[in-house]
Amino acid sequence: MAAAQTLANGTSLRVWSFGGGFNGDRAVPAPVIELIEGQSAAITLNSMMPHSIHPHGLDVNQANDGVPTTSGFVGMAMPMMGNFGRVAGLPSLGSSYTYSFVAPHAGTYMYHCHGDTVLHQEMGMVGTIVVRPADGSTDRVWTGGPQFSREHIWHLHTFDTTWHTQTLSGAGTVRYRPDVFMINGRQSVAATADSATAIRGMADDVVLIRLVNTGYLPAVVSLGGLTFQVIASDGRPLRATPMVTQWQVAAGERYDILLTLTAGTLREAQVDYYNIRGTAVLGSATTMIQAS
């Protein structure tokens, strides 16, 4: 659905959303979907407009993969809207479809609309899927895996506001020049004030941050110089877990990182969004890490 997002410069930007908001208070990113490893999951998409849900990284079968060319789309083709969603000639699944699968490995995944993906994903039709361990515990990353005491999702995304006047990818979306840089749909000042994004904890808190890059640019995450441990990617534990001060997350990738807070910690975390050649930072989003 269409929605409006107020930018840091006070202007209002048209975005597209799966509705509901990240924590119910924003259009982009979409709601976090929590599943339990080994259990059946059903995600129903209701839409009259042509869209889909692709459960990115969950390795589902083709019928539930949400790719219109192979699996159809939800809604109706809208030829009067210039092949909106680029679904002309593809099978419609009706105005409501339930994507069904068994949640695989515990970890961090994402979902996004796969109709005219280039535009719909950029416009904000993106969300996070968290698969909990088989016992449903919310303090371990996977069964027998590391324990944590606080948990944040950092959903990395950018907007090229010139794209947000388009209804179809094409001549207006040939080149991508983002001018809005976000964590969890919030630019720096708002991200620092956002309780879902800013990390405010206690000494000895072990903080799990699920990094999810649904944007189109390589992002480099740093935590104000603090050392953190990279423990998992794409829903699988790493074979070795490096201790680093910054880490690169490419579009579509997810990384789970652990940070242990110490008393008096007060740092500004930063996400630098690089151009696709990796030669320059186009923009950044910052937020706060604080321990009492």
Binding site: H54, G57, T117, A171, Y176, S233, R236, L238, G252, G278
Partner: protein
């Protein structure tokens, strides 16, 4: 494509191999060989997926056949082989043959000349040959070719002592900014800071041509292990996302991967951190057919005039 067409006999009386997306097994042999390849650097006019034309440069294999997809040249050799590449340059400017990490700072080959480049095939792995004169322009214009090095014993392994695979494919990623091509063929300069590609390719093809070529659309039967040699001689990063599959990343840039192994999204290049040049990026990944039909989207890069996602398909048979 007929597998046997990949095997050619060259003028030096030795068997030459060219690479295709689907690489046939090499015959076993006991000792290293001396292999000679003749390639030509030439101007080509490519018809793109939207019908427009692009003036580009290309290495072509000459008598030795074609590379995968629409790429003109490619080499498949064994570790330890003594390789001689005879480059004939019919372009209007000097170029050279380099292999990032293996053969660098080589002499120029002037226009109209033929220059011999010799090297010993390095450790088994995936590499590429490219022009490095002048700077990045040669690669932006298309002067590159995959170099596949098999273990010395010719076995179906990605590295000596590594796991066996059933079939292997080469997927070469690159892109084009048609403004750069137009400027270069007109003899003008182009500032690389302005490089913003608008066409994207796997093996020189855009979707749906990628799914129509047997050497680029991946076909496998349930239970098979497929080796994917993903080579990025282009100038931008590309994340490849595999629908329906996680892959195992075996190596990156000549190093075995020991940490970030099990992936559904593989980033090419990987190397913003530590901050080093990203020009060398090859990844070898393994895929085990699980019984799911699947497609893969290579690159979430937006912006093509046509289908902005490079895409190739895995086809599973026997299910």
């Amino acid at each position: 494509m007929d597998r046997r067409s990949f095997l050619k006999t060259g003028c030096y009386g030795v068997t030459l191999f060219t690479t295709a997306g689907l690489i046939p097994p090499l015959p076993r042999r006991a000792v290293a060989a001396s292999l000679s390849f003749a390639i030509t650097a030439e101007a080509v006019v490519r018809t793109l997926i939207d019908g427009s034309v692009l003036s580009a440069w290309q290495f072509t294999g000459g008598v030795n056949g074609a590379g995968p997809g629409a790429l003109g040249a490619g080499l498949v050799v064994r570790s330890g082989d003594i390789i001689s590449v005879a480059l004939t340059n019919v372009l209007a400017q000097a170029i050279n043959v380099t292999i990032p990490g293996v053969l660098e700072n080589t002499p120029a080959c002037p226009p109209g000349a033929t220059q011999i480049y010799q090297f010993t095939a390095p450790a088994a792995g995936s590499y590429y040959v490219c022009d490095a004169l002048p700077g990045d322009i040669g690669r932006a214009m298309g002067l590159f070719a995959p170099l596949i090095v098999m273990p010395a014993d010719g076995g179906n392994r990605l590295n000596a002592g590594g796991a066996l695979f059933d079939k292997q494919y080469t997927l070469v990623l690159h892109e084009a900014d048609d403004r750069l091509n137009a400027a270069i063929v007109a003899g003008q300069a182009y500032a690389m800071a302005d490089y913003e590609p608008n066409y994207f390719f796997i093996n020189g093809l855009s979707y749906p041509d990628t799914s129509a070529r047997a050497d680029t659309a991946i076909a496998m039967t349930v239970g098979q292990t497929i080796a994917l040699r993903i080579i990025n001689p282009g100038l931008i990063y590309n994340p490849l996302h595999f629908h329906g599959y996680h892959v195992q990343v075996i190596s990156r840039n000549r190093s075995l991967e020991t940490a970030v192994v099990d992936k559904d999204t593989v980033s090419m290049c990987y190397c913003l951190l530590p901050k080093v040049a990203c020009f060398l990026c090859t990844v070898i990944a393994c895929l085990r057919a699980s019984g799911l039909p699947a497609s893969t989207d290579a690159s979430t890069r937006p912006g093509s005039r046509t289908d902005p996602w490079r895409r190739t398909y895995f086809h599973l048979f026997g299910i």
